[in-house]
Each structure stands twice: as C-alpha cells, then as structure tokens.
Symmetry: D3
C-alpha cells in the first residue's frame, strides 16, 4: 500500500510541522528533573533528568528573553522561545515562556499552540490587544499584528514545558508529501490554479 505509506510520510511530515496537541503536562515526582538533552540519553515521555549535581544552579535562570529578536523576516516578527529545549530547567515543571518582537506592520501569522494555554502581556508598542493582558486557550487559532508605528514586543507564558507551535498556512500548503490538490480545492472552494499558487509559495516546506 505505497499510497498509504505516502500518506504516512505525509502525516509524518505534518507532524514535524504540527506537533500533536496533547493536553496538560503530567505532574513531576521530584523537585527538579533538569532535562538531559544529550542525544545519547534514553528518550522517554518528556526528557530524562540530569544528575542534579551536574545541573548547576543556572537551570533556574535564563537571560535569553532579555534582548529583542531580529524582525527582518517575511512576517516582520521574531519569536524567541524558552521552552524545555531552550531552558532544560523547565522539564517536568509545566511552564515555559516566549518573547515575540514585531516591526511596524509585523505579524505573527495564524498559528496554534497545541500543548499550552497562553497568557501574555504587551510590554511595548501597540499590538492588537495592545496595552492589555490576554488569554489564548490551547489550540485556539490566533495571530498578532503590530498596528502601531513603532517596534513592539510581548511576553507570553504557557502552562506547558513544550507548548509547540503549528503555523497553519505552512501546514496546509507546505507539507511534504503535499495534501492532494483535489482535497484542497474542495476544502478551499477554489480552482486548482489557486491551490497551486498557494503551494508554490511554500515550496520547500518553510
């Protein structure tokens, strides 16, 4: 059944783009379990723990969100992530944090955080929801848009060590193997040409 294998590969590819949405983190069974991100460590649900004495004291701190990201991107925005891959100390603690910087007119395109509910605060500038704290329930498709004339940034937190991010357009049009065009023409209610145009924008899957 090469066909279903292809689909398998397709799902597989989508999964790399679209982490599965999988609920709230399990509770820890010790004070700390600092992630051992070493590829040679056995892989378990989440990450195994580094010996605490090797973890040092910095696992409780990070400075990665102190400086702005580079917003010279197609979207005019930059996401700086502090999930468990960036901050091993969050392993088993069920929290993480991101900083998102925006150039004027910049946008964080429609996306979903499949494993975490987001609570955030705009720290500078005028975003939609500017000057307010906001809630984005896990899995809600959402976006941000800098409607001001200056740079802006926000800091958001999640109730997961690994909330994940699914960029919706990339998943729809950039999966490899692709979602079959007949499926997308029916789904988008347009002709094949429009679907092919959209797919061409995401050729290479990024």
């Amino acid at each position: 059944m090469g066909y279903s294998k292809n689909l398998g590969a397709g799902l597989f590819a989508m999964l790399l783009l679209a982490p599965a949405v999988l609920a709230s983190d399990p509770d820890p069974l010790q004070d700390f379990c600092v992630a051992d991100l070493n590829g040679k460590a056995v892989s378990v649900n989440g990450h195994p723990c580094k010996p605490l004495l090797e973890a040092g004291v910095d696992f409780l701190f990070s400075s990665k969100l102190a400086k702005a990201g580079n917003t010279s991107t197609p979207n005019g925005s930059a996401v700086t992530e502090l999930d468990v891959a960036e901050w091993p100390g969050t392993n088993t603690l069920g929290v993480s944090m991101n900083r998102v910087d925006f150039a004027p007119g910049g946008t964080n395109p429609p996306h979903i955080h499949p494993r975490g509910t987001e609570i955030g605060m705009v720290m500078k500038g005028e975003l939609l929801v500017a000057g307010e704290t906001f809630l984005i329930p896990r899995g809600l498709m959402h976006f941000q848009f800098n409607v001001g004339k200056t740079d802006a940034y926000m800091v958001v937190s999640f109730n997961s060590q690994n909330p994940g991010i699914v960029f919706v357009p990339l998943t729809l049009f950039g999966s490899n193997p692709p979602i079959p065009t007949p499926v997308l023409t029916k789904a988008l209610r347009v002709e094949a040409g429009v679907v092919e145009l959209l797919k061409s924008k995401f050729a290479g899957g990024s």
Copy 2:
C-alpha cells in the same frame, strides 16, 4: 479600545468555530453523571448530572451511528457525531465516537480535533489509509479522502467526551469579524485579491 473589542469579538467568533484545545478529560467521581443538557441547569465544567433515576437505561446505548449520513454535501462527506451533546451518557466518561460517510471522491477537509486523540477503522470502501486502523493525535491537522469508486465509511473514537472539531479553511477565511486581510496576505504570501477570493467563498461563515 473598540479595535481590541473587535478583535475580542473576532476571537470570540473563532472560538465558536474553533473550540479551544484543552487537554484530557478530568476523572469522574461517581459511576455515571449523565449530562443534563437542559439550558436551565447550572453550567459547570462539562455538564451537571441528571438524577440517575431520571436518566433511564438508554444512556448506555445509542443507535445513531447505525445508518449512513447523507453525503450530498459540498465535500461529499457526512460526519455523524456521538459526543456528549448527542449522547449524554458519555458525560465524565472521557470517550466519544463518530461515523464519517464518504461518496466517491468525497473528502473530510483539513481539520483538527482539539480535545481528543482519534483512533479509527475504515469499515467499508477505500479511503486513504483504507483497510487499516489509524491514529490521529489530538490537534494534528488531518483529512480523509475517498480514493475508491464506491461509497466508504469509517468509525472513529476519541479519548474525550467532547473532542471538538476545527475546520481550518473556515476558521482562516470565514471568521467574523474577519482576520484582517493584511495579516492573511503576509501569512499566505499572496496578493490581497487571492485572500479576498478565498474569503468570498466563506462569506456567511459556513
């Protein structure tokens, strides 16, 4: 801040289309808590329980999946849901079931079940993944496509009483108020005309 109120309304509208993705169901604290779907009942997380003696014995059974749905739809498919709204007995039990029928060439367009992982089996016909059982992790964007010459149907189960369904194209292009066109042109990397075309297909939000 009328603008952010508008966005509020926009998020609100999307939420009606896109149930938030919210983790695995909590555990029950009694044998059964048959949902009282009566609007006058107090609303709690999930549903309050009907008095068991009023619940009758049928709450353990349903026949709604016994007959095929009507596939004369734009997508050539029909989803028959047995979630808590259709089967009150599932309240607090953390499971539900759907039947999906497909005409030849029919598709179940790209969608996400935000609150449940799906495990399914193709019962008749030749779908992608035809003749096999399959897994769709919660929140994974997926679709089905009847690649055979005959009608087909599958039965799928979820590990949630209310897995929800987010139809991705409808959420992107049919939200009301809409996702601003400048956001979508950046996100889709196309000109405003293409975005407006796509939006026109989902005018009315359905």
Copy 3:
C-alpha cells in the same frame, strides 16, 4: 429491544454494585513516543521512545484488526488486541482498539478493563446490545453474548494505551498460589466441594 433494555437494567444493577473505575493515561510531552519494546531498553512508566527516525511511518497504521479472529475456543470468541504491546505507536497517546469475534452462542466471559473506559460498536451480527454503540466504564464487570444465529463481531476502543483485561473466573479460581478455599467457601456461600470443583476447571491457571 426489551432484551437490551434488560441488559441495560442489568448493567445498571451491576453498576450499583460496581462503581466504574475512571482514570486516564498521563499526557505526552512530545508528538510521538513510539514504544521501544526491546527488553534491553530501560523500563519506565509506560515505555521509552524509539528514535523517531527508526520508528518508520507505519507506526501510525495497523492492519491487525482487518481479519476475523479464530472463534474455535472454549468461549466461542476471540479477542484481537491492538494495545501498546501490539501497536507501539499508541505509546503516550492514550488510545487503543480491540476487535472481538463471536461464533453463534459465543461469549466474552465476565471481565474488567482496569485501565480504560470502553466505547464500542457492533459491526456484524446480533450481540446483546446488538446494532447499537455502547459504553463500558473502566472497571465495570461486563460480558458479551452472541444471541444470534450467525457469526458476529464488534470493534471497541479505549481511552488508554494499555486498558488491561481481568478475566474474573480465572482470577477467582485459577490464581497460583490459590485463594485459600476457606476464603472462597465463605465468599461464595457454598461447601468446599463446589469451590474445589470450580478450581479444578482452572487448574494450570488458564
């Protein structure tokens, strides 16, 4: 269907004796964690994860439920399981699926699934609850009985990767070392001879 109503009432009665057991698997912390069932792997709660690149794409699919099991058994039934031991891809996903085939008069003897709530559908034939979908809360003692003249089968799903199965008569009478006969005579309110007769049927513990 007075008969299934009776069963409904029967389940209802049993439920008053047997509060359902209702739990759920812990949530995953990554997209997939395909079970490494290799005995040499470290053992953890559940299973460690295979490197995703070694997992292949088939971990999302299985064909094991496509064909009927052999019902030439003492019970006239055959259970084909697709739990994590049979389908490594279910590891951390909190779902699994079984197919049960029945010869005419065949029965699936009283049993309990201790780690999963069951939702099922009769696909062929006339079982008790024939032609309907049904719910069996985790830990409820239940059985199936083919009351029709033809073969029958059902497909059931669970909200656990490893729901387990406790065959009640085997546990009562076939444990080794045995439950002491004085305990069983008191418990069953019969003479030792009846207990010894029952034990003799399960000598060898299977």
Copy 4:
C-alpha cells in the same frame, strides 16, 4: 513469614492476570469544598461545596473509626467506611480511610476498589500480611483473612475520596437482572446446576 510470601506470590500471580487500575481524583480549585450531600443540591462530578461558613470546623475530623465494627456477619468481618459520603470534608481532597474488623477466621471476601489504590496497616491480630503494611493497587482483586485466634483489625487509606468497592461474588451471581446462566456456565466451565446453586446463594442481590 512464608505464608505472607506465598500471598505475595499469589498477589503477584493475580497481578499478571489483573493489571492494576490506577487513576487519581481531579485536583481541587479551592482550599475546601465540603460536600453538600443534600439531595436537593445540583449534582456535579463529585459534590458541590457547602458554604464554608456552614461547614463548621468538624469537617476536618471524624471519630467514626475509633470503635470496632460488629463482626457478627456471614463473612465474620465488618468494614467501616470513611469516604466522602461519610466524611464530607474529603470532597475534592483525594483521600479516604476505612477500618476493617475481623473475628477469628473472618474474611473480607474477594473485592476490588475501582477508584482508589489502598495502603494499609494491620493494627491488631494476625491477618494474612499480618504485622506489615501493604499495598493494593486500584482494581486489583484482593481479600483479607484472619488467620489468628483473636480479633484483628486493620486501617487502610485510599488515594480517592470515593474508592468504591466491588464485591466480586455478589456481582457475578447476584446481579438483577442476572448474568444469563449460559454465559456463566461457559465462563465457569461447569454445568447449569452449579451456576444455579451459586445464584441461589445471592438471591435478593445482597
């Protein structure tokens, strides 16, 4: 204590037949939610909360386990339960406690606690597992037997406010409507007469 080792092996053997059921109550969202057991209160998952000022201070205490139960019963044992129905203060706290008294030769017949793992300590006398603390995973079929010449009692705790209890013989033979005799003859591998004898002992369902 070869005997208790044997029982250990026995439990071990049973466990291979009977995977433990292991869950936990949902977490509370306030300090206390003292159960309002008044039938007129709305029914929810668990129990609604009494206004704290009406709950008094005694909800934190109980004296019900201070005195022995009456062991003049068919089984020569008496279970005194302190679950949420007896101790409203346990509502949402995920714990409860039982005291079980035994006359010489008394037994607590094979049973399952479907919603709670049991941890217990023999306080007086010589039970199987006498003089030791013991663990009974949720859903494991187990029993106790007073093998000493004096009264005995134990105190057990559960990680649930409502662990429930399933008396296995009563469920097998005393359900109403009954499990059909043809099902039990197949399941027990005996003739209908033996099944009818056993059912006759539990006529009236208690």
Copy 5:
C-alpha cells in the same frame, strides 16, 4: 472535645491564610467557562460558568496589570493579582498572572504559591535574579528583594487559575487561634519571650 474544636478553628483560620496546596488544575470540558462569581451561584470545584452570551468579549482581556501598584507598604512592595477572582475568564484555563512592584529595598516576603508553579521576568530595575527570567516550582518557599536604587517590577505567570499565596511569617505567628507557644518555642529553639515578641508583631492576623 473543645480543645480539638479549637484546633479545628485554628486550622480553619490558617486555611484562610494558607490556601491548601492542591495540584495542577483539572482540564476544561468546553471552550470557556467564565467564572460566575455571584455569591448566589451554586459553589463547585472552581466556579460555575456564566452563560457565554452574558460573559461579553472582555473576559479575554484585562488592563489591571498596566499600572504600577502602590509600594508604600511595610514591605515596600505591592502585588497586583490577576487570578480567577480578578479575571473570571481564566476559570478552567489553568493560567493566571501577577505584577509585583518594588520600591528600592522593597521585598516580597518569604511565601509559597501552593497551587501554581511560577515563571517570571524582571521588566524593570534590579531585583535578585534581576534581568533574568526565573522559575519557582509550586510550593517552593521564595522571596524577592529589590537590590537596586530605583523602583523595579516583575511580571510572573502561573500554571493555575488560582495559585494562592501563603505568607509564611503571618501563618506562623498570626494564626487565630494561635499556634501554641510551647510548639513554637520547640520549633524555633528559642525562649517563650521571643515567640511572644514575634506573635505581637502579627496581632490581629495581618
């Protein structure tokens, strides 16, 4: 037993000071369940839901953290909380947020958040952990101290809608009825005079 009643009252008083530590929030079973904080609503675990149409769109937003709190306090700090009591939209979403302002030399005294792990970022000034993001696991006793010459503030988030706060000195010395002095002299290894001095500072329980 007036004495234990007194203790009951004592525990009761401490509970008002010291919300019990109770694990991660249960998962929601709908998109939103905006807290109905109206005293006349039935009380359940967490809060019942307002009808969504009465909730308005603002439940997704708050401006309460936009302005600094008044740090003219004994501790030279001010905590502005956005938990479910302040932001009903967080009900069932498992997140909340605080802003803490500090005068130079100001401190947030040793405390515990019993129901939530804290992840925070110093936004202005030089606190211990200044300029860094930091993690405070649920239940860890911690404090903050403004070691700079200017005002400072931080924004912290929690993985609970109601993390609670236990001010340790107030609970030790300000409970009513008090923790008996003989207990505190043993516990603190000092003479009764020192204990009485400390208690005198918290007379009135605040």
Copy 6:
C-alpha cells in the same frame, strides 16, 4: 552576576530542604514499576522500574512501621517514613505512609507536605485531634503536639509516593546561603538581632 548565582545556590539549598510542591502523581501505565533506586540507573520523572522478576514479592509489603521511632530528639518526636525511597513498591502507585511517635510534650513542628494530602489516625495517646481521624490538605502548614501524659503515635497516609516535607523554621532560618537578614527583618517585623538569634539556632542547616 555572582549575586544571582548565590541566590541560585540559595534556592538550590532551600530546594534540598523544601521539595517543590508539585501536584498529584501521574497515572501508571503498567501494574507495577518497582523503583530502581540504583544511582547508576537513568533518572526520569519518578523512578525507572526494576525488572519485575528482580523485584521479588516483598515490594508489596513493609514492616518498617511496626516499631516505634526514637523520640529522644529536640522535638520529642520521631517520623518514620515509608515513601518511595523507603518502599520502592510505591513507585507509580500514588500512595505512601508515615508513622510519627511522640514523647509526652513532644511536637512535630510546623511543616508542609508539598506533594501529598494527609489523612491520619491517632493510634495511641492524646494528641491534639486525639482519638480522631484528621485531614491535612497538601501544602497546609500544620503541626502535632502530644498534650497527654503518655507516649503517643499516629499513622498517616498520603496520596503521593513522595509527599515531601518542608520544615518551616529550618527553611526560614537554616538555608545556606541564608535568606538575607534585611529580608527577614522586614518579613518578621523585628530587629536584626532577633533574626540573627533565630539563625544561630539553625546554624549548620539542621
């Protein structure tokens, strides 16, 4: 930032004294996962599992609580713990048990069990709450005091395999590096001399 490193060390030290409070234990995915406490085993959330055949049958039993602890201590009390470190069989089962013995006038000083709700029973003597069972929600600061003229003991259980214990005075005054005196003078509303006196009692951190 040596200063924040110091604080890091301080938090680190406190954590060794004060296990973080981290919610209810996750659910197991097998019958037993007897803790392999061997330092060479990979470390995961909780403990990896010993091969069941190497676990022996004793993992279900313990006799450690059968004899009284030695109450010749500064507090006149002795805690005998049976958590996962003492009883590997509790790994993944979500329960544990302690025995606490008291000399006349003995006290178990103010403390918190950060990971488990406690349910207990006074077995001998006259403690506050003497002769009663009692509930201590996770994270509630509490103490016991032998108000009788004889030895006393109680047995308590927890809904966690590793409830942890935070002795409050030791954490406040014995952390290393210490909580800065200016923080404690503000927090306790006393002069530095009193703080230094209290710290001197816990020099050496025990």
